[in-house]
């Protein structure tokens, strides 16, 4: 297992998860993610895509199987979880910025309290990330004073402040007005070009075509199809994928 960690940064080995006693949300998930790989996960709602990526930083616990992130297996060991969370950044559908803190404070919080950086260094790093998402001039504002697209870019910058090895995106554009989706996707495309490992749950098929190394299609808690974007969109292997694609690409 430990030797695999060098090329595979994330390994799901027959991972199963239930909500309550009856809802089997992840079923025998096997997935290996290479360092620097960019993966788009799609599928109908309730198919377990969000749950899948939320297992990677232990926002959800899996009950069976093994999940290894950067050489560390996720168990109840709190220290291991803390270590992994430092290496895994996450961006949420609803942004989840801290509304009582300014944009800058949102970004410096974790580097200061988790990374133990001095305040000035944390602020420098925060400003660098804000520039990266092209929103440095909003540093002094509160999140609710920004537009949805701006908030989501702040959320991306916040996740980047811990210099993570892996970035998880959980439907980052689903809560945005159409004209704001582009500004967020642009930032994500740029990020993808810089070689960070990315797992992105999204229905933005244009984004998948442009940056993904692999598309994973999920339904009913299972991985139905793994393929390159080109193959997945032009030549899907399963009837379920064909059906799904015909619905979302129908118009």
């Amino acid at each position: 297992m430990t030797t695999q960690a060098t090329d595979n940064i994330i390994v799901f080995d027959r991972v199963n998860k239930w909500y309550g006693n009856s809802f089997h949300v992840l079923r025998d998930i096997d997935l290996k993610v290479k360092r620097g790989e960019r993966i788009v996960i799609c599928g109908p709602s309730g198919s377990g895509k969000s749950t899948l990526i939320r297992c990677i930083n232990r926002l959800e616990e899996h009950q069976e199987g093994h999940l290894i992130v950067d050489g560390t297996e996720l168990t109840d060991d709190v220290k291991a979880i803390d270590r992994i969370r430092k290496d895994v950044g996450m961006v949420f559908q609803q942004f989840n910025l801290f509304p009582h803190l300014t944009v800058l404070e949102n970004l410096t919080l974790s580097p200061m309290y988790v990374g133990k950086l001095p305040k000035r260094e944390a602020e420098e790093r925060a400003m660098t990330q804000l520039k990266r998402v092209r929103i440095a001039e909003q540093a002094g504002k509160y999140p609710l004073q920004l537009s949805g697209g701006q908030q989501q870019r702040v959320a991306i910058a916040r996740a980047l402040c811990l210099t993570p090895k892996i970035m998880l995106f959980d439907e980052p554009t689903s809560a945005l007005d159409p004209e704001m989706i582009k500004e967020v996707l642009d930032v994500m495309v740029e990020l993808a070009k810089q070689g960070i490992t990315m797992l992105c749950v999204t229905h933005e098929m244009g984004f998948a075509k442009a940056v993904a190394d692999r598309v994973i299609f999920m339904d009913q808690g299972q991985i139905v199809e793994e393929n390159t974007p080109h193959e997945f969109f032009n030549n899907p292997k399963t009837d379920r994928s064909k059906d799904f694609l015909s619905k979302i690409l129908g118009h």
Binding site: L59, V88, L109
Partner: protein
Amino acid sequence: MADTIIFQSLPPRPAPVRTEGLVPWIRSNLFGSVPSAIATLIIGGVLFYFLPKLLNWAVFTATVVPNVDACRADGAGACWGVIAEKYRLILFGRYPFEEQWRPLVATLLLIALIVASCTRAFWSKWLAVLWVIVLAVYFVVMAGGVLGLSAVTTDRWGGLPLTIMLTTLSMVLAFPLALLVALGRRSSLPAIRSFCTVYVELVRGVPLISVLFMASFMFPLFMPQGVSIDVLIRALAGITLFTAAYLAEVIRGGLQALPKGQSEAAASLGLSYWQTQRKIILPQALAMVVPGIMNSFISMFKDTSLVSIVSMYELTGALGLALNSDANWRPFKLEGYIFIVAIYFCFCFAMSRYSLWIEKQTNKSRLR
């Protein structure tokens, strides 16, 4: 060229309906609609009937000098003289008369500390140190026995100083306890969760007066011979535990109102449980429930009057003490009560004004 239109400004005209001045104000605010007009007439009538009588009693025929005979004369109204006569006893209870400068100084010091704690400019680490020092000075001055001050046992402490001290200490102790209980009720550990729930439900299920009664009379029965805990501390513990249970539920309300995404975001950034609570959850949850917290504090301030059940004469108890034992002045209890009502009101009103200010401060980040 010749077609240029010459602009001519219209002369200003007065508004068709006057909106300024006394008459329009009365029309729009007191007689704006039929129900409003009826309410105005009813309230006006009641005031017209009662106000002269009230003023007559409270001002025109009132006696201000502390003279029983003048107060008892025919046609005499309110007897404010009772306050002039008894104010030392009402305000300081059974504290030895010649030593009453001590509770005065100690209480002024405590009030100054509270005002400082409520002021933004003083919010720093030194405030905690200041609290320790002031409380130490407070108890030395009150209890005496050192520095040439004569010893005064706690059963003689009383009046307004006792009310203020009980309130202050219960607030300071109940608040952190309530935070822990509120967090405990949401803990993922079943033992902690049930303990906190049982505590809250037990305490909320009984009246404060019985808590105080038990603290005062039953508790000593269970203590070993020779060990006794001062009644002041027992009463303080009773009020603190009681208030904390209510406060915990208020705070839990704020915790419930926060979206789950906040703690998930904090977790995804690697913050520990306590870091998350301290930096993310509590600041937002508490800001939401400032009115409820202040509500608990205000009601606790007034509930301290119940400690007279265990022979501690705080402001209300001291009033009874001052008047019940004196047959001459006993009939003028009403005036005495109006006096302490005014005192209670001043403190409660100040607390609720402060609460509004806090709300404004905490809402700054929500302004767009």
